[in-house]
Amino acid sequence: MSRRSLGLRIFGAVVFAVIVTLFAALIYAAFQNDGKPLDTFVPGGPSSKEIQNLVIPVFAIAGVVFVGVMGAVLLITWKFRTKATDDPEEFPEQVHGRTGLEIGWTILPALILAGVAVGTVATIINLNKKEDKAIEVQVAGQQWWWQYKYDINGDGNFDGPEDITTATEMVVPAGRAIQVTTTSNDVIHSFWIPGLNGKKDAVPGLRSPLKLQADTPGVYRGQCTEYCGLSHANMRMLVRAVSASDYEAWVANQLKDHAADPTDAKALSGKTTWKALCAQCHVIKGVNDEKMKTAKVPLTSGVAPDLTHLMTRGTFAGSILNLYDPVDPNDPSVTLPASDIAAAGYPGAALTGGNVDVSRVNRVSLEAWLRNPAAIKPNYAQGGRGMPNLGLTEAQIDELVAYLETLN
């Protein structure tokens, strides 16, 4: 065999150095958690902390084994390389195996894994413990947004008059356990708020439990993680943890309806347009909710997001667009997913039913969305999946936005 040429030696050494640097950089990067709203290493609640406490030692063990094996291979390849001076007909000692050693290194990993197994089982048990007095929320995935139903009166039913139906954002009181039940209206989705817990698939026809709890008020972002078709990438959600008193006020406001006509003339004609074009799929309590209970909805999977209290949310369109504070006035499709409340399209006083700060509403994105939804978020509206392009005139869009702005 030909001897290694100098060029090859240098190339090999450079590649080796690059890979070592890369691994070092990646380990460093694993600890850089700022500006990474979906980071799994920033636990914000008891469940995610529980997982974190298990994951860290497991990673540590894996790291030790990694260093051990890599070190051994490097050492061996260096120590036992054939040197140019070696006699080609001289052979190393012919070792066929050592049974004791082999049994040893069969048992050793088994013991390490048994240790890991104990921690794993304990964590699984803890994560599945039922919490008393948890708030019951049913989370339903639908192409490509999330619907939340709160069992406010605790009767085990999510559709009573005292219950809440909302979309896109889940509002919870900080420090209180939420018992989520995931399900789906069409295909399999997965509900994942990395800051609060691991994910749970939302399977049609199945109801799966997931415990969530946020320790402090804040915004916890999430992303659908089970491939669910065309706009899977654009199916996001967030959990907005607020103080207990804000939560009470939010619930009280959510229970109200919007039967009364808006006073503003433009908004009023917007309502007429809404009833003519949007009310087939969307619901506004007090306007068409009674009708929608029996109506044939032209969607494959269920109704479109409930808009009754649209302006109490900070994001819309599957949580990819800010409802307040345009990020980039020139590009309506950009959303800034920062982790602090202010930048996540914070609805301000509107959250609990206060006035909507019209000056801060992200009209650029909202209008662009009404103009042609599929341009921002691909969908199959013709197949009953997603919001169609309704061919609205600019005047209609203007009136509709004016009406939507009244939905606090």
Partner: protein
């Protein structure tokens, strides 16, 4: 590609030998044996030619699947990439996964199994040579059928795992998923036929003295792999038949409105899918277990442990499937159970790694290209194995699953593991198969470039996943912190692509240089297993005579003797113990046949019929059934290719010229076709 040197027909034919009263009826003659032109490849039943065709086809599909990977990486170069639409991206990632798993990695394993396994056990050919050809053509036509979806309305868009109900007609109305489903049923038939064939070959056709515990480890791993296929493929077929019933005939297997349970698909798919993972990696493990001892110049450390850990992986692989479903809502008890089984499958895998390391310990390591790729496998697979252990920890997996962390994990396993092993195997066996060495300098450059590209592409994905980047998303936004590492990964993907092209360049470069170099000889690496004692390229008849095996690494111990204290002494010059090319006149080989290619050609026509027009099914069905009857009715031999010890009477009815067993047991025909004339005469 026609490198296998076949013997000219006129050497084999003995004029006047054919006095058989057998009158072939028109089409029922067999093609002449021993041809070398392109036609001989279409009708060949030679396991070596079929192995080469498997490998060549898989490399072409590798380029297709690799191109799809590059599209993915370019799309994800920056936030809101615009190269691909959401729809196109979903098709591309689905077809990338499907192509790489079913049309690249599995077939490369089949290529090595076909070419090498009969050589390693000292057999003439596989048990059913025609079924072997049939397997290959089914794979080829299935793969082509699958890829014609691009021209006929778009590829599948459901992901390679293709979960219900997203794979239903309601959510994926295009024909892409039909192509996926039917194409994989076709390649599944190929795998199943291959599995039966190769298992029978290993169990029944070993050379004298080749006991199971003397078999080379690659052959052992092939045996385990084929058993996994034998039992895994039918489970996938059930899932696919149910899906076809749903999509084509409106059944209710995945119709939630009628009470279907979408988890049925997940269970069936992963009961197939996890053994599938092991059957992709085990052939590469086998290759490495044969390469490392050769270049460490000492025996594999703990042969029985390596073998039994492979068998253990094969068994345990059936009890871990639901770790793909930890978050699907299967309940905490199932989660715990599958979490534990998954952890402990790491034990036999770890044993292998440690044994390989121990094989190198104390050796005299020669860093040839095959050796470098094998060490690459040992290290890169270790990373994949360790990340695998982290998601056997179910609570951790709930954070990791369906993120890029998983993408990183299985690429370290399937690329860093299986593919590095395969490329190492290519470098190692190239002289045996084609009679010329691949250039070593290019080979080593190839290794370092591939190692670099591979790590640049997939190592950052660990961090991307842990920091929240979801799988199968066609786009991501700025502000999530995904930008930097996606760019690194894309650069890595191009590096990786260039290393694959370097490999292909090396093939042609070395081939053109080979003419001016001395012939490689039977044993260019000073290797251990018996396939190295026959001439390179391997003669059509393989061995003459068939060796009698006395121990593991039999060929090595024909060259060297071992003293009691482990010292090695040469007892014979290599030239004295290798076999010389003979004229092979007295060796009876199975004749080529037209029917495998015809029978498999009917299958995609049936599949097109199921998609577009049921009448086409009839056409395809007639071709398939007609070809099967032609198959079982054709004479056992090409009447013109008789041999000196060939009793013509054997062609009479006595030899069971026509063993009619249509349908699934058509394989019976092959034994009749191959039965040694002297046993009947």
């Amino acid at each position: 590609m026609a490198i296998i040197e076949a013997l000219p027909t006129d050497q084999l034919a003995l004029p006047g030998a054919v006095t058989s009263d057998y009158k072939p009826a028109g089409v029922f003659t067999r093609p002449k044996a021993g041809g070398t032109g392109w036609k001989s490849w279409l009708t060949t039943v030679d396991h070596k030619k079929i192995g080469i065709m498997y490998g060549a086809t898989a490399l072409v599909f590798l380029l297709i699947g690799g191109f799809e990977a590059i599209l993915i990486r370019v799309q994800l170069w920056s936030p809101r990439g615009t190269l691909l639409s959401a729809n196109a991206y979903n098709q591309v990632f689905t077809m990338h996964g499907t192509t790489m798993v079913f049309l690249v990695v599995m077939p490369i394993g089949a290529a090595f199994a076909n070419y090498l396994m009969p050589l390693q056990i000292g057999a003439r050919d596989v048990a059913y040579p025609r079924i072997n050809a049939y397997s290959y053509w089914m794979y080829l036509f299935g793969g082509i059928f699958l890829n014609t979806s691009w021209l006929l309305g778009g590829g599948a868009d459901g992901g390679w795992f293709n979960y219900a109900p997203n794979n239903g007609i309601l959510y994926s109305p295009s024909h892409g998923i039909d192509f996926w489903n039917l194409g994989l049923i076709i390649t599944g038939i190929a795998s199943l036929a291959g599995a039966v064939n190769l298992i029978v070959t290993v169990l029944n056709m070993r050379a004298p003295g080749m006991t199971l515990m003397r078999m080379p480890i690659f052959t052992w791993m092939t045996l385990v792999t084929q058993f996994l296929l034998l039992f895994a493929i039918p489970v996938l077929t059930v899932a696919q038949v149910l899906l076809m019933m749903d999509r084509t005939f409106h059944a209710n297997f995945f119709n939630v409105a009628k009470g279907a349970n979408p988890l049925l698909w997940e269970h069936l798919f992963w009961i197939f899918g996890h053994p599938e993972v092991y059957l992709m990696i085990l052939p590469a493990f086998g290759l490495v277990s044969d390469i490392l001892p050769t270049f460490a110049r000492k025996p594999i450390f703990g042969y029985p442990f390596i073998v039994f850990s492979g068998v253990a992986i094969g068994f345990m692989g059936w009890g871990v499937w639901a770790h793909h479903m930890f978050v699907s809502g299967i309940g905490p008890i199932s989660v715990t159970a599958f979490s534990l089984t998954t952890m402990f499958i790491a034990v036999p895998t770890g044993v292998k790694i440690l044994n390989w390391t121990a094989t190198m310990w104390g050796g005299k390591l020669r860093f040839t290209s095959p050796m470098l790729f094998s060490i690459g496998l040992v290290t890169m697979f270790t990373i994949g194995g360790l990340s695998g252990v982290t998601h056997s920890v179910a609570p951790a997996d709930t954070q990791q699953t369906d993120t890029y962390y998983i993408v990183a994990h299985f690429h370290y396993v399937l690329f860093g593991g299986a593919f590095f092993g395969f490329i190492g195997g290519f470098y190692y066996y190239w002289p045996k198969v084609f009679g010329y060495m691949l250039n070593e300098k290019l080979g080593k450059t190839n290794f370092w470039l591939m190692l670099l590209g591979f790590n640049l592409t997939f190592a950052p994905m660990h961090i991307l996943g842990l920091q929240g980047m979801s799988r199968r998303i066609y786009t991501y936004d700025a502000g999530y912190g995904f930008d930097l590492w996606n760019k690194v990964a894309t650069i890595g993907a191009f590096t990786l692509a260039s290393s694959v092209f370097l490999f292909i360049f090396n093939i042609f470069y070395s081939r053109s240089k080979a003419k001016s170099l001395p012939p490689v000889g039977a044993d260019p690496w000073d290797a251990r297993t018996i396939e190295w004692m026959i001439p390179s390229p391997v003669p059509e008849y393989n061995y003459d005579p068939i060796p009698t095996i006395t121990r593991v690494d039999d060929f090595w111990y024909r060259k060297y003797g071992e003293t009691k204290d482990g010292k090695l002494v040469r007892i014979a010059a290599t030239e004295d113990v290798v076999q010389q090319r003979s004229d092979g006149k007295h060796i009876h080989l199975p004749s080529p046949s037209y029917w495998p290619i015809v029978a498999s050609f009917g299958m995609p026509i049936v599949a097109y019929g199921l998609i577009f027009n049921l009448w086409l099914c009839l056409v395809g069905g007639i071709i398939v059934v007609g070809a099967l009857f032609g198959w079982v009715l054709e004479p056992p031999d090409d009447p013109d290719a008789a041999h000196e010890d060939h009793d013509p009477a054997a062609h009479g009815s006595d030899d069971g010229t026509v063993v009619v067993n249509a349908g699934e047991v058509a394989e019976a025909g092959d034994v009749a076709a191959e039965k040694e004339p002297e046993t009947v005469g």
